[in-house]
Homo-oligomer: 377 residues x 2
C-alpha cells in the first residue's frame, strides 16, 4: 500500500497515560488515530473510564473477541474531548497474527510506539516480564511494520537510558547504557539499539526516538489524567493523593543532595507539552526527506526540587501537603534535567507550560477523580 | 518436580556446530541429553547428516509433526559416536507452547542454551531476525525455565561482547557493550544483561555465561565437524575449503596490523576443548552452592595470526593454501585473545589441544566430507 499520503497513525499503548493524552492534539492536527492496547494497566486504572465507553451512558458498548483485534470500538473520555470516535483494538504486541491483521486493515503512515511496562521498581522484581513485553513486543511490532512497509516510527524512550548523569544539562550525546540499574531503563536502551541496527540495515526507515524526562499533569479539562494503580511510583501523583486526602504523608527521599534545598531535582514536563511533542515528531517524519534513527530529549530544560514541587502543589491546591524526610533511595541521583535545545531546533517544539500549570491541571483532575477514574467524586 | 538429582540436560540449538560436539563429552560424563533445535541452519548443512538419521541406513526414520515437539528421534552421527540414542525435538524457542511441553516431559537439571543465529555479517543485514531469534527466543526460554523451576543455565555468549579490545589479554572484567558494531554482538550483550537482571531478581538462579573466543576444528573421528552454509564467514572453514579444492584462494584482510606478521591475531580454540568446557560448567552448576550470573572466557589464551593458521593448515594437510592480501575490513581489530585463567581457577578447565590438532582435525573432517555433510567423499 502507498502510505505517503495517509494521515492514519497507529498508537500502540494508546490507552495509557501518555498515549491517551497524545490522541487529542493528534486529532486536532488532522490525524486519524487508531489505538492499540492490551489494557494490561487499564483494567484497574484510568483507561476503563478514559478509553472504554461508559456503558450506562451508551451508545457504544465495549466488545472484544479476545485478542482477535476485530472490534474497533469508539472510546469515551477522549472521544468526549475530541468530538469524534477513535478506533480501538484490544491487541497485545506479542500476538503477532492479531497485530498483523490490524496492519492489514489500515493504511498507516506512521506508528507511535508507546506500549510498554514502565515501573522502575517493578522491573527489578519481574525483569523477564519487562523484557518480554517491552523488547520482544517491540521486535514483533517492527517486524510487522516492515512486512507492511510502514517504516516511520516515533518511539517512547526515556531519560533513564542516560543512567546517572555525567554532566548537566543532559544533551542527546550524553553516554547511554552505562551502569543502568533496572530492567526498565535497560529495556528502553536495548530497543533503541535494535532501532539503530534496523535503520542501518534499511535506509527506508526513519525513526524519532523521544527520550522523555518526567511527564506530569493532566488535560486541562480535568477529565483525563494519570491514575496509577496502587501506590504511585512518581512524585506528582503521590503529592496529589496526599493533597486530596487519600494518603497521609509523602516521603522525601534524601534532603542532603547538592541541590538548591537538598532534595532531588528533576525535569518535570507537562503531559500536554509532551503530547504536542509527538505531533511535532510525526510532522517531521512526514515532511522531512530523511532516514535513520535520531534521539531527541523532551523536557523543559529546567529542574525543580521535590520540595519546590510540593510547595507549588500546596499553593495551587490550597491544601497542606504533609511530607517526611526519609533516607536516600539506592539508584537516585541528585539532579537530572535536559538540554532541550535540539528538540527546538530540529522539531520546532518546546515546552510551554509552567510548573504552576502542571500542578493546577493535576489538582483539577485529582479533585474530579479523588480515587482515580474508577470513582468520580 | 525435584530436579536436584536429575542428570538430564536440555541443549537448545543442540544440532548446531558447538551443540552437537558438546553432546559427546556430556554423554561420556554420564549426562542424559535432550536436544532441541529448529533446524534453521540444519536443513542445508551438516545437521541433516550429523543429527538426522541416514534414512538409507535405517532403522531410525526422521519424523516430526511440525513444531509440536512430540517426536523425539534418535540421531545418527552423534549416536554413532556415543553409542546411544539422543532424544531430539524439532522445536523453535519462539514457540512458547511447544517449548513448555518439552519441559513438561522431562525433569531437566540444567539447560545449555546454544540456540541462536551467529553470522556477524548477516546480523547487519537482517537485524530484526537476529534480535527475534536470539533475544526474544532467550526471553521465552528463560520464562519457560522459570515456570518449570529449572534455574540453572549455561549460556553461549561470545567474545564479541567486549567490542574492540581496550587491553590484552581480555579478562572477564574488560568493559562490555561499548561500540558494538553488529546485531550479533549486541544480541549476546543484551541477553547477558537480561540474565543479570533475572539473577538479581531471584536468588535461585545460577547461570554461567561462557564467552567463546574462536571455536574451530572437528571431532577427531572426522565424522562431525563445522559445515557452514554458503561462503564460510570464519577463517578455518575457509582455509579448509581452499585446501580441499572447493575454493581457489582465501583473502587475508589486512597485513599491516601491529602484530607478529601484520595479519590479525585471534584466540582459536579446539571445538572439543570448548565442548569439555561446557561439561565443567555444568558440573559447577550442579555441585557449587552458589547463585547469580558469572561470565567466563573460554579460549586458550594464545593468539595466532591468520598467516600462522594458513601455514599450519598447509603443513598438516600437505596442500598449498593459496591466499591474497586484501584491504582491512571495517570492524576488525588487530588482536584479540583472552586471559583464560579464570576458567582454570573457577571451572578447573583449560584448553589442551594445540593449533596443530585444530588443523589436523579440521582437515580430517574436510577430507571425509569435501563438500560438507551433504556429500561424503
Amino acid at each position: 500500500m502507498d502510505n505517503s499520503k495517509s494521515k492514519c497513525v497507529l498508537l500502540t499503548g494508546g490507552a495509557g497515560y501518555v498515549g491517551s493524552h497524545t490522541i487529542i492534539p493528534l486529532i486536532e492536527s488532522g490525524y486519524e488515530v487508531v489505538v492499540l492496547d492490551n489494557l494490561s494497566n487499564a483494567c484497574k486504572g484510568h483507561i476503563k473510564r478514559a478509553l472504554m465507553p461508559d456503558v450506562a451512558r451508551g451508545p457504544h458498548v465495549f466488545k472484544t473477541t479476545g485478542n482477535e483485534g476485530q472490534n474497533p470500538v469508539p472510546i469515551s473520555q477522549v472521544e468526549k474531548l475530541v468530538g469524534k470516535p477513535v478506533t480501538f483494538y484490544n491487541v497485545d504486541l506479542l500476538d503477532y497474527d492479531s497485530l498483523s491483521k490490524v496492519f492489514d486493515k489500515h493504511n498507516f503512515c506512521c506508528v507511535i510506539h508507546f506500549a510498554g511496562l514502565k515501573a522502575v521498581g517493578e522491573s527489578c522484581i519481574i525483569p523477564l516480564t519487562y523484557y518480554r513485553v517491552n523488547v520482544s513486543g517491540s521486535i514483533n511490532l517492527f517486524q510487522v511494520m516492515k512486512e507492511h512497509n510502514v517504516k516511520k516510527l516515533v518511539f517512547s524512550s526515556s531519560s533513564t537510558v542516560y543512567g546517572e548523569p555525567q554532566f548537566l544539562p543532559i544533551t542527546e550525546s550524553h553516554p547511554v547504557g552505562q551502569n543502568l540499574l533496572n530492567g526498565y531503563a535497560k529495556s528502553k536502551y536495548y530497543i533503541e539499539g535494535i532501532i539503530q541496527d534496523l535503520c542501518n540495515s534499511d535506509k527506508e526507515w526513519f525513526v524519532i526516538i523521544l527520550r522523555y524526562f518526567n511527564p506530569v499533569g493532566a488535560h486541562p479539562s480535568g477529565i483525563l489524567g494519570e491514575d496509577p494503580t496502587g501506590i504511585p511510583n512518581n512524585l506528582m501523583p503521590y503529592v496529589a493523593q496526599v493533597a486530596v486526602g487519600n494518603r497521609p504523608c509523602i516521603n522525601v527521599f534524601g534532603n542532603d543532595y547538592n541541590t538548591v534545598d537538598g532534595t532531588g531535582v528533576r525535569d518535570y514536563l507537562h503531559i500536554m507539552d509532551l503530547a504536542e511533542g509527538h505531533v511535532s515528531a510525526l510532522q517531521k517524519l512526514q515532511n522531512a526527506n530523511e532516514n535513520g534513527a535520531i534521539a531527541i530529549n523532551l523536557g523543559t530544560g529546567n529542574g525543580y526540587s521535590v520540595l519546590q514541587v510540593i510547595d507549588m502543589f500546596s499553593q495551587v491546591s490550597g491544601q497542606k501537603v504533609k511530607y517526611a524526610i526519609a533516607d536516600r533511595r539506592a539508584g537516585d541521583c541528585a539532579s537530572s534535567y535536559c538540554d532541550a535545545s535540539f528538540a527546538k531546533s530540529y522539531l520546532g517544539w518546546q515546552a510551554k507550560r509552567t510548573l504552576k500549570e502542571m500542578c493546577e491541571d493535576t489538582w483539577r483532575w485529582q479533585s474530579l477523580y479523588p480515587q482515580g477514574f474508577s470513582t468520580k467524586k
